[in-house]
């Protein structure tokens, strides 16, 4: 009888990916530029989980692999297994062992991944969320989910992550927020992601341009206060 997979459980004989990073560059039209970078499993066909219904312009950026059907314009590298989609990478024989061990990186575009307008909420905040479900056969030691926000947008906050952050148990949050090359970036790191376990990060972003209204209201209120509350300075009579 097969045991159900649980987070952190590794099945004997299962291939392990030391690192798996999924970087999503978000665009204002709701499309994404996705880059998946992971440790290679040398000499074997690699099927990487794909949670996007349609992708465009897939290409290998680095690593000793080629995409399935790369030389055949009509065929797609996307395959379906057990009801899930994967992008299939085929190994290329290389003589240099260093090259064989280098990280494999694949990029593609996802047009219309989400409806930007519909994701808009109060205060002009846009909510974005992505779930990574490890449908692959690999045990992932370190998984990283990175969002690069469109230029001119700020990260308003990280709403939710899975696994959930518990400050009582973890001294440091599992996500990082920073500014990199003019983009605001949020990156979630999850360790020991076994088959069927997932990682989620939900963020809110908003336009970097701030309204001048608070400035005007602040100045007006301050001036009015200084005028109408001058009596505060007068000595109280007993």
């Amino acid at each position: 009888m097969a045991l159900p997979a649980q987070a952190g459980w590794m099945v004997v004989g299962q291939d392990t990916l030391a690192n798996y990073k999924e970087s999503l560059e978000i665009h204002e039209d709701g499309s994404l530029d996705v880059t998946i970078t992971c440790s290679p499993v040398n000499g074997k066909v690699m099927d990487l989980p794909l949670e996007y219904e349609s992708i465009e312009n897939p290409k290998i950026v680095s690593g000793s692999f080629v995409l399935l059907g790369q030389n055949d314009n009509d065929s797609s590298p996307v395959v379906e297994k057990r009801g899930s989609l994967f992008i299939r990478l085929l190994p290329v024989e290389v003589l240099d062992s260093q090259a064989a061990d280098s990280l494999v990186s694949v990029t593609f575009n996802v047009p219309g991944y989400f409806d930007w307008k519909k994701s808009k909420r109060a205060y002009g905040v846009v909510r974005f969320s992505k779930t990574f479900l490890n449908t692959s056969d690999y045990y992932i030691r370190t998984y990283e989910l990175e969002y690069m926000l469109p230029k001119g947008y700020l990260l308003h906050g990280v709403l939710k992550t899975e696994p959930e952050y518990n400050p009582q148990k973890q001294p440091v949050p599992p996500y990082l927020v920073e500014k990199l090359d003019g983009h605001y970036r949020a990156a979630l790191t999850v360790n020991d992601l076994s088959a069927a376990s997932r990682a989620v990060m939900s963020v809110e972003m908003l336009k970097a341009k701030r309204s001048m209204l608070p400035l005007i209201i602040g100045i007006v209120l301050s001036v009015l206060y200084l005028i109408f509350y001058r009596d505060v300075l007068e000595k109280e009579k007993d």
Partner: protein, 521 residues
């Protein structure tokens, strides 16, 4: 002649009655305060300075590592901190403004902001005030206070020293600081009134009494590993991240001398320099002094049935507070400090069985709103990661690199940890953020984490600078016996004293105990 003396004696007893009439000093009513010249200017300029602080932080370029939500919270908290200190509007109104800013600028969700009113800390405050009202109504507080004055109250110095000793003793028994504050509050009010201090006419005796008690309740907890939940969290971090187990006695023998020195220094400088006592404030404002107060105590007669009932109810609550670790074994579940007070308050309010009618419960709701704002701000700082970002930035700005002298790092860590409490509203949050940073810094620099983390943990309970910094501070602030500025002035002086004490202890006592690197190390 005899008739004149009898009349004068009766007049003195009447005066004591007047002083002890606590219905005049209702905590739920805010008395108007006389402001000094500098306080009037602070009040006047506080509003634009606070607004300026908000706008400066809000419009600054969002730095790397900080979210926009965090920036909004930082801006709102900066405004509130300035307004709480300078008081252009009453402190509870500032809290409401802070909560409004958090919601309107999308710093924290409306439901979260409004939900703070239901937090256990607010409940504990409300229940503590109900129990305190019961002690006042039944005259038990008056009797205990008079007894304390008769025994130790011959002069102002003795009575405040007695409170320090009492607090140090209670801290070992009752970890909940708010509970200790609630317990001592009515006694303090009676003692203060005997020395002529009230919310209507605050004097330096009252300032010393209440602020020294505030300090003793808070940093008194630092003597014991179990003195507060935050201490235990720090110990857990030192074990899990630093790999060293800290035992109860390790903590106790290291921290106790620091706490005792802190209390004695506070007792000395408070009366002499911070709020110097005038001659008339050094003794009870009652002609005939202690003898007359003793007469009043005798006149109160035997302990009444109502007092016994109040003592029973309050005693039961205290027993539940003290035995918290045994509850699992006794009941199969744990009764928290809040629920213990809850049981006491319900019994106190029960018709026929209890002692108090709802109208007699003196609950300062403005203080509850003040607390809500402070907690909402503090929690939002934590939730948005803004507090962590500020702490990280401070450590980053210091640019401490391997090879640096240990004692330089030690002094920096103590001073930063100690003074950081001014910007926090919860010890637990401060511990969760700071202690891991300190341990990570020690590991990065190649020091034993214990050398820095345990002394840093001794700073956790020094939350004494502002009424927002801890629960007992809010409870004692409700008495109106001192201003935010008084609190800040004495608090900053004692924070400096505490830092120096821990630095001196690091060089000497902690070395002997092996907490900091030894003389050969």
């Amino acid at each position: 002649m005899f008739a004149t003396s009898a009349a004068s004696s009766a007049a003195v007893l009447d005066k004591i009655d007047g002083l002890l009439d606590l219905s005049k000093y209702k905590l739920s009513q805010i008395p108007s305060k006389y402001l000094k010249n500098n306080e009037r200017w602070m009040k006047y300029l506080g509003m634009p300075i606070g607004v300026l602080a908000f706008l400066s932080v809000y419009y600054m370029k969002t730095p790397s590592g900080l979210t926009m939500g965090g920036q909004v919270v930082l801006a709102s908290f900066a405004l509130a901190l300035i307004w709480w200190v300078m008081e252009p509007v009453p402190t509870h109104v500032t809290s409401l403004v802070l909560m409004g800013l958090l919601v309107f600028f999308n710093g924290w969700k409306e439901a979260d902001v409004l939900g703070v009113l239901g937090y256990s800390v607010i409940w504990l405050n409300i229940l503590a005030f109900i129990l305190s009202s019961m002690l006042v109504k039944t005259n038990l507080a008056k009797r205990l206070a008079l007894k304390m004055i008769v025994k130790f109250g011959h002069n102002a110095g003795q009575i405040t020293l007695a409170f320090f000793a009492l607090n140090l003793f209670l801290a070992g028994l009752i970890p909940a600081t708010a509970a200790r504050a609630a317990m001592l509050l009515p006694i303090m009010i009676v003692v203060a009134s005997i020395y002529g201090a009230s919310n209507v006419h605050p004097n330096n005796f009252g300032r010393n009494l209440f602020l020294q008690n505030l300090q003793a309740i808070n940093f008194g907890s630092s003597a014991y590993m179990t003195g507060s939940n935050a201490n235990l969290i720090a110990v857990a971090f030192i074990l899990s991240m630093g790999g060293t187990r800290v035992y109860y006695t390790d903590w106790f023998f290291a921290a106790l001398p620091v706490v005792i020195c802190g209390m004695l220094i506070s007792w000395f400088i408070g009366r002499k320099f911070v709020f110097p006592l005038k001659e008339e404030e050094k003794a009870p404002v009652v002609e005939g002094g202690i003898e007359k107060i003793n007469e009043k105590l005798v006149e109160m007669g035997k302990v009444s049935g109502q007092e016994k009932k109040a003592a029973f109810i309050f005693g039961m609550v205290i027993l539940l507070w003290i035995t918290d670790k045994l509850h699992m074994r006794m009941f199969g579940f744990e009764i928290s400090a809040v629920m213990a007070a809850f049981i006491g308050a319900v019994i106190a309010l029960l018709p026929k069985v209890g002692l108090l009618k709802w109208n007699e419960a003196d609950i300062p709701w403005h203080l509850m709103l003040f607390s809500c704002g402070a907690y909402a701000g503090g929690l939002a700082l934590n939730d948005t990661g803004a507090a962590r970002w500020v702490v990280g930035s401070v450590f980053e700005a210091l640019n401490i690199q391997p090879g640096v002298n240990f004692w330089v790092v030690y002094c920096v860590v103590i001073v930063i940890n100690m003074f950081s409490h001014i910007f926090f509203t919860s010890k637990t949050m401060r511990t969760l953020i700071f202690i891991p940073f300190v341990i990570a810094t020690a590991q990065y620099l190649g020091f034993n984490p214990l050398w820095l983390a345990l002394p840093a943990a001794f700073t956790i309970d020094w939350v004494i600078a502002l009424p927002i910094n801890a629960k007992p501070n809010v409870i004692l602030f409700s008495t109106g016996q001192y201003s935010v500025l008084d609190n800040l002035k004495y608090g900053l002086i004692m924070t400096t004293v505490g830092s120096l004490l821990l630095i001196i202890a690091g060089f000497t006592w902690f070395r002997v105990l092996g907490i900091t690197p030894g003389f050969g190390g």
